[in-house]
């Protein structure tokens, strides 16, 4: 548990951090450090330079404007879980953040670090995909945004370029009549999600007008389930179960605790339960 030799640089601004990224090949950005440092201690990651962006207050905070909630990349899981703004507009994101690790992890870990690391068992990615969030990136050549559904590319791989910093995510607020839920099947060793199901349904006059389900932990990236069959129904248990059973992934991940087949099965069960919980909250 001793990392290899590395240099440490602390950035005072986003621009300085971008400059340090340019100057140092293979450098790694560190926010809360909760993914990077364990990898370094196991020597699975041996970056020559660590650029600490953890004190860039400009990247921290939660605010709502124009039907969308902006969450700065350095916002901690604890702040997200406790956010009144998110509770009002995107409660499922706060719910998922409250499932991450323990209180100490939530006090240090950040949403930007979490999604940039892109662990398949992470709680945040399926929620961002469900909500249609956009991820905002900045480089010396400007800024760009990418849809959460396109951001996660593969196991531990994202769309973040080598010269880019993840600055914030924009999360569309849930509309009236919408219920949402995140249900987690926790790994007894790591505390990560074996399966994490994020669901939302919108109900008007007793009928479903929109529904979504995204399941984490089953595939390398969050798996969206086509639950459009629910639209127009009264969201009966049978209709929900049928919709959730559409979960499919070509190459499910597995470990000694839970095989790929089993994860797909639990994904269907938890998808069903998350949809039912969302219905009950709508």
């Amino acid at each position: 548990m001793y990392p290899a030799q590395f240099d440490y640089r602390r950035a005072g601004s986003v621009d300085e951090a971008l400059g340090l990224l340019q100057e140092n090949e293979d450098a790694k950005l560190m926010a809360g450090g909760h993914s990077l440092i364990p990898m370094m201690k196991l020597r699975l990651a041996q970056p020559p330079v660590v650029i600490d962006i953890g004190r860039l207050d400009e990247l921290r905070g939660i605010s709502e404007a124009g039907g969308s909630v902006r969450v700065g990349s350095l916002t901690t899981h604890a702040d997200i879980a406790a956010s009144d703004v998110l509770a009002a507009h995107c409660p499922v994101l706060a719910e998922a953040a409250g499932h991450i690790g323990d209180a100490q992890v939530r006090n240090r870990g950040t949403i930007g670090g979490n999604i940039a690391h892109a662990d398949p068992g992470s709680d945040i990615p399926p929620v961002l995909v469900l909500l249609g969030a956009s991820v905002h990136l900045q480089s010396p050549s400007g800024t760009r945004s990418v849809a959460a559904g396109d951001f996660f590319q593969d196991l531990l791989m994202t769309d973040v370029g080598e010269d880019e910093i993840l600055t914030h995510v924009d999360v569309p607020a849930l509309g009236a009549g919408t219920g949402s839920a995140y249900l987690k099947f926790e790994h007894p060793a790591s505390g990560y999600a074996v399966v994490g199901a994020a669901a939302s349904v919108t109900v008007q006059d007793g009928r479903c007008t929109a529904a979504g389900l995204v399941v984490g932990g089953v595939g390398a990236v969050p798996t969206a389930v086509d639950v459009s069959s629910l639209v127009g129904t009264d969201l009966s248990d049978d209709a929900i179960a049928a919709a959730a059973s559409g979960l499919d992934t070509e190459d499910p991940i597995g470990d000694i605790f839970a095989s790929g087949d089993y994860r797909v099965h639990v994904g269907k069960v938890y998808g069903k339960r998350a949809l039912a919980a969302a219905r009950d909250r709508a």
Binding site: Y2, A4, Q5, H187, A189, I256, A258
Partner: protein, 781 residues
């Protein structure tokens, strides 16, 4: 002081520990201290073609890189010995540093010493070892198959020993005439101990005196000194001091003598400097002796009334790559001898094959053989309840050794000195509300959805391995007594030097309670010293739930000697006859004349002044005792677990856990409860989560806490505890032992509960750990 024994005095150890002021081995700093990093095999089995240390040695700040060649050049014994010899046991050499062959992932091949620990790690990565990988076998059953890769050339078929106890013919006869039989193939899963504090050592050799002080994570410093000097370093025993500072848990893993501590000692001798090594968590998982790892076929024969007539057990027990300190005793004399459980079984036969595998060694881990035995017996009793239609309660009650049958001679050597099993079962049923639970279970079975199950475990434990002559005849290379030196100071405060060695158990608190009670003084007036071979007389240490029963009894013996001597001094001062004196509430007084009395302090002061003193008496007021018990002690109890099973996912929720334990007289109820809580957590952990998994090539795939699940507080529920009290008849305190009871009883209770919940699905067994996927697959055929 009256009322001290049996009182939940707060642990005096805790203020320092919970405020972070406890000094553990890794907290210690020595002037001029260097740091070691051990280079370990990444292969489960390989030949070492060569080792190139030059790149490591070239790093500035690297002080030495040692290999097996340096061990040989040092002219020391250089091996790690086994401390329990069975008949025909194969004892292949276990070199401190592997010379030509590595036999498990983590086997030491070299050590780097550098000025700081980071540099040592960096340099260790530069040691280039040329391995020729060989076929490996990690599974205990696969290792016995024809053509399995051999772990040691001189252990044919990977068999370390072939052992049996009981009478095979009478068991065969019982099965031939049985009205009912049940049988089971089971695995007892391999566990990694996971003490929170990893193993660590700070060895300080001083060539000017030829002395070495070793601070290390030890449950038994004198035993470690003996093995370290005799077998590994070849130093004279009196030139080595071993100190166990605060030790952060052991569960058995810090009983054993490991190569690593000896390697660090050698480094210090070579460099003439203090050298420290602290295992990383990864190293801990790869090299701490693991626990359990059995494959067992077992069967029970019953007559038409549901009385057991015979028990047959055949077990393959993994030993790992080398025989660890007490490894051969664990699946034999601590396992086969427990097979009678709480039951009157007229015929028992247990056969055990000890098996070498290309894995970390297996040795004593909390319970050590007794959890494995309890699991066999109590799983079979559950099946017997089903097969006979008697159910889990009645089949047990019908077979309990009757209360009037003690002392009870089992068919597997042990003679139970005392017991009364019915009341513990009855109390457990009452606590859990058994009849209501069965009603709820029936209604859930009718309605579908999540199912509940109720599981029992009526266990017997054998603590305080004894007496020495008997365990010696069974192969132990150590005595099993304990020592105590009790010194009354001139001002009547007391220091106790105990051969037990606390590593979390609270000896300082409980032992002070014993002395306070016997001497009629305040517990605060008693200091307890342990864990230092220079301060304390030879002692055996703390393991096997022995410290209260054996170590505590040694203290009582010393206190009794002190009172006897005190009576002679007081008689002289009071001009009375010693025979007429009694010792009451801290005073020596003439029986029948309570105003003719002297306080302990008056007598103690005179013992050291010796101004007005009996002619034939030596000055001083202290006494040393070596207490060798007449027998084991036999705690017992009944545990009941209630679970809820989500049959859709296979997830298990604990709903209730009631434990009624009989550990004899209780010195400190809070500490006893704490021991039970910890033991239950570990036993439930074994049943539901913990599993050391090697793949077919011998890689430990559960090598980190990301994959190996130790129980966390949010996984558990409040435990419901109660006790019955059947004092041990053969030790002066009437105590039995409690450190392992929770871990012994609980795996069977949990598994029986889950299997009970799933009975409608035709499920009679699932191997531990009961992961949701396994349960789900069982439910879904």
């Amino acid at each position: 002081m009256a009322g001290v024994l049996g009182t939940s005095i707060k642990r005096r150890e805790d203020p320092a520990l919970i405020t972070g002021r406890g000094k553990y081995t890794d907290d210690l700093q020595a002037a001029d201290m260097a740091h070691a990093a051990i280079v370990r095999s990444p292969y489960a089995h390989a030949r070492i073609r060569g080792i190139d240390t030059s790149a490591a040695e070239a790093l500035p700040g690297v002080l030495a890189v040692l290999t097996a060649r340096d061990v040989a050049a040092a002219g020391i014994p250089g091996v790690v010995p086994v401390g329990w010899l069975l008949p025909d046991l194969k004892t292949p050499a276990h070199p401190m540093i592997a010379a030509d062959t590595v036999r498990h992932v983590g086997d030491a091949v070299a050590v780097v010493v550098a000025e700081d620990r980071y540099l040592a790690r960096d340099a260790a990565e530069r040691v280039a070892v040329d391995y020729e990988p060989l076929d490996a076998v990690a599974d205990v059953v696969a290792a016995l198959e024809d053509g399995a890769p051999a772990v040691h050339e001189d252990a044919l078929g990977n068999v370390a020993f072939d052992w049996e106890i009981g009478d095979r013919e009478s068991v065969d006869a019982a099965f031939a005439s049985a009205a009912n039989t049940v049988e089971l193939d089971l695995r007892n899963n391999r566990l990694i101990p996971h003490a929170i504090e990893p193993r660590a050592v700070l060895a300080s050799y001083d060539s000017s005196t030829g002395e070495m002080t070793i601070h290390m994570t030890s449950q038994n410093p004198h035993v470690h000194r003996l093995l370290m000097t005799l077998a590994s370093l070849g130093m004279p025993e009196h030139k080595v001091r071993i100190v166990a500072p605060e030790v952060g848990g052991g569960f058995g893993s810090k009983i054993h003598h490991y190569a690593d501590e000896a390697i660090v000692g050698l480094c210090s001798m070579k460099l003439d400097r203090p050298v420290k090594w602290t295992a990383t968590r990864t190293e801990t998982n790869l090299t701490d002796a693991h626990g359990r790892d059995h494959s067992t076929h077992c069967a029970l024969a019953l007559d038409a009334e549901g009385r057991i007539t015979g028990l047959r057990v055949d077990t393959a027990a993994a030993m790992g790559a080398y025989l660890s300190t007490f490894a051969p005793a664990v699946p034999t004399y601590l396992y086969g001898t427990l097979m009678s459980g709480q039951y009157d079984i007229p015929a028992i036969h247990c056969h055990v094959t000890g098996v070498f595998t290309h894995t970390a060694p297996v040795d004593a881990y909390r319970g050590a053989g007794r959890p494995e035995a309890t699991y066999v017996v109590e799983r079979l009793m559950h099946l017997a309840g089903e097969a006979t239609g008697l159910g889990p309660v009645e089949v047990r009650k019908r077979n309990f050794v009757p209360a009037d049958a003690f002392p009870y001679q089992t068919q597997v050597a042990l003679a139970y000195d005392s017991g009364n099993y019915g009341p513990a079962m009855d109390r457990a049923l009452e606590m859990i509300g058994y009849d209501d639970l069965r009603t709820e279970q029936a209604s859930r079975r009718d309605n579908g959805g999540k199912q509940i199950g109720i599981g029992f475990s009526s266990y017997i434990e054998a603590c305080g391995l004894a007496p020495s002559a008997v365990v010696g005849s069974l192969g132990a290379q150590a005595g099993q007594w304990e020592s105590a030196d009790v010194r009354v100071h001139p001002t009547a405060s007391v220091t106790v030097y105990t051969g037990s060695s606390s590593h979390g158990q609270g000896h300082e608190t409980t032992f002070s309670q014993i002395v306070a009670d016997k001497l009629g003084i305040a517990p605060e007036a008693v200091e307890v010293i342990h864990g230092d071979t220079d301060l304390v007389q030879f002692g055996m240490g703390t393991y096997g739930s022995r410290s209260a029963a054996v170590g505590g009894s040694a203290i009582v013996k010393s206190v009794e000697k002190i009172i006897e001597k005190g009576k002679k001094i007081a008689a002289h001062l009071l001009e009375a006859s010693a025979e007429d004196l009694e010792y009451v509430d801290g005073s020596f007084r003439v029986a029948g004349s309570p105003d003719r009395a002297l306080a302990l302090g008056d007598v103690a002061l005179q013992a050291y002044l010796a101004h007005n003193y009996p002619d034939d008496l030596e000055p001083g007021l202290s006494a040393t005792s070596f207490y060798d018990p007449a027998n084991f002690t036999y705690p017992f109890g009944t545990h009941v677990c209630v679970v809820e099973v989500d049959t859709e996912t296979g997830s298990i929720d604990l709903l209730r856990y009631a434990a009624v334990d009989d550990v004899g007289n209780v010195i400190n109820p809070m500490i006893v409860d704490g021991q039970l809580h910890g033991g239950l957590a570990q036993g439930i952990g074994q049943a539901l989560w913990e599993n050391a998994v090697y793949d077919d090539s011998g890689q430990l795939v559960s090598g980190s806490l990301m994959d190996y699940a130790v129980p966390k507080i949010h996984n558990l529920i409040p435990f419901e505890l109660d006790r019955t009290t059947t004092p041990c008849p053969h030790n002066p305190l009437g105590v039995k032992g409690v450190g392992e009871a929770g871990a012994i009883a609980s795996p069977a209770a949990v598994v029986n509960a889950v299997v009970d919940a799933l009975a409608p699905f035709g499920i009679s067994h699932i191997d531990m750990p009961l992961t949701p996927e396994k349960v789900w697959r069982a439910v879904n055929g």
